[in-house]
């Protein structure tokens, strides 16, 4: 999957927030606050372009000292949230 066109991660008053700025994302009409892990994963998703729960979990394991099973669970939860609010496709 990939991040839908027009969604960007910005620093808003010290918080990491996803907002819709591009054409097609203008109707998003909300700000989605991310915790530190989710924000890191979002940046990874942007770098990877076409990503999966597995590819993000791999990246997370490389960067941080986490078990792969835990990483998979965490990533799946966060990506589910993104699917729910429709910022990935």
């Amino acid at each position: 999957m990939k991040i839908k066109k027009g969604f960007v991660l910005r620093d808003v008053c010290g918080e990491q927030v996803i907002m819709g700025e591009g054409i097609g994302a203008l109707d998003f009409g909300r700000l989605l606050c991310l915790n530190e892990t989710a924000a890191w994963l979002w940046t990874q998703s942007e770098l990877q372009g076409d990503f999966s729960v597995e590819s993000l979990a791999d990246a997370l394991c490389e960067e941080y000292d986490v078990e792969r099973d835990d990483a998979l669970k965490d990533v799946a939860l966060i990506v589910d949230e993104w699917k729910k609010v429709n910022v990935v496709e």
Partner: protein, 293 residues
């Protein structure tokens, strides 16, 4: 044709106008530059020319519809930005901009009324102003502004929420308050001293109130209709979210989006932002004034 210079919120711009058009631009008079000799072209933020009767071909990107006033945003085959202004289903004109929005031409629709030309020129200048100044800590707000004890207070909210009504309640019940602008004030943030100011503008919706004045901002108030009066302070992301929908701009242009984000973030961090659930009554104006001034 004559080139006229105007300064709005300390941004200088020029408009090429003929005499016929010029007499319809009395809302710009308080902002006119008297001493044109001292102007250096490098100080000009943007220049607008006015032409008649040429059809601009473009591809639509998106459109904004507010109470029958439609702005269609697009681009030409040469990738220049275009904005067509439509009122009650009739095209009033199309604005064609250079990529940095520093020069632009409004092509007025043929055989329309003088009022139509005025509508198109006003909209063209507003759009161009917002885009050309977005990267300089400047934002054109959709708000009603009152001044009270040397500070400006901006009332925000969706169309029909009662921004103008609340402003009027202030004028009536909070002694010493005055209307600065009823629809489109300009807000600027200055890094030096972290100061935010609100300025009157030549655009004030249905209320003719074109004041060339500036005030330090005392606060922003997001209004929402309710069967009671209650005011609370917004902070951080909530404050940012309250300001965001009140600023016009072409956010799918990254330079514009970055500029507006910078301004919104600075304002949300340095200026008090409030949320007022209110009735259209005296108590609302009093409670609000008590809390924010």
């Amino acid at each position: 044709m004559a080139k006229k210079y105007y300064i709005v919120a300390e941004h200088l711009f020029s408009v090429d106008v003929n005499d016929e058009m010029f007499v319809q631009m009395e809302n710009y008079e308080p902002f006119a530059v008297e001493n044109v000799d001292s102007i250096s072209e490098s100080d000009v933020s943007f220049s607008l020319s006015i032409e008649c009767g040429i059809n601009v071909e473009y591809v639509e990107e998106t459109r904004q519809d507010e109470e029958g006033q439609i702005i269609v945003c697009g681009h030409t085959v040469k990738n220049q930005s275009t904005f067509e202004f439509i009122l009650n289903g009739l095209s009033m004109g199309t604005l064609l901009c250079s990529p940095d929005y520093k020069t632009a031409t409004i092509y007025l629709a043929e055989e329309t009324s003088k009022g139509a030309n005025r509508f198109a020129v006003n909209n063209a200048i507003m759009v161009l102003y917002a885009l050309a100044t977005a990267r300089y800590g400047t934002a054109l707000f959709h708000a009603a502004v009152v001044t009270y004890r040397e500070r400006g207070y901006l009332f925000l909210g969706k169309s029909g929420t009662g921004k103008s009504t609340h402003a009027r309640l202030w004028l009536r019940y909070n002694e010493g308050s005055e209307l600065l602008n009823d629809d489109n004030p300009v807000v600027r943030f200055f890094e030096n001293g972290a100061v935010a100011k609100v300025y009157g503008s030549p655009w004030s919706g249905k209320t003719p109130c074109y004041k060339n004045q500036e005030f330090l901002i005392g606060g922003f108030v997001l209004l929402e209709q309710a069967p009671y009066n209650k005011i609370s302070r917004l902070r951080g992301v909530s404050a940012y979210a309250a300001l965001l929908p009140s600023i016009s701009g072409k956010r799918w242009d990254k330079v514009i989006a970055d500029g507006l984000h910078y301004t919104e973030n600075a304002l949300a961090s340095h200026v008090p932002v409030w949320y007022l659930e209110c009735l259209p009554d005296e108590a609302a104006a009093k409670i609000c004034c008590e809390a924010i001034t």
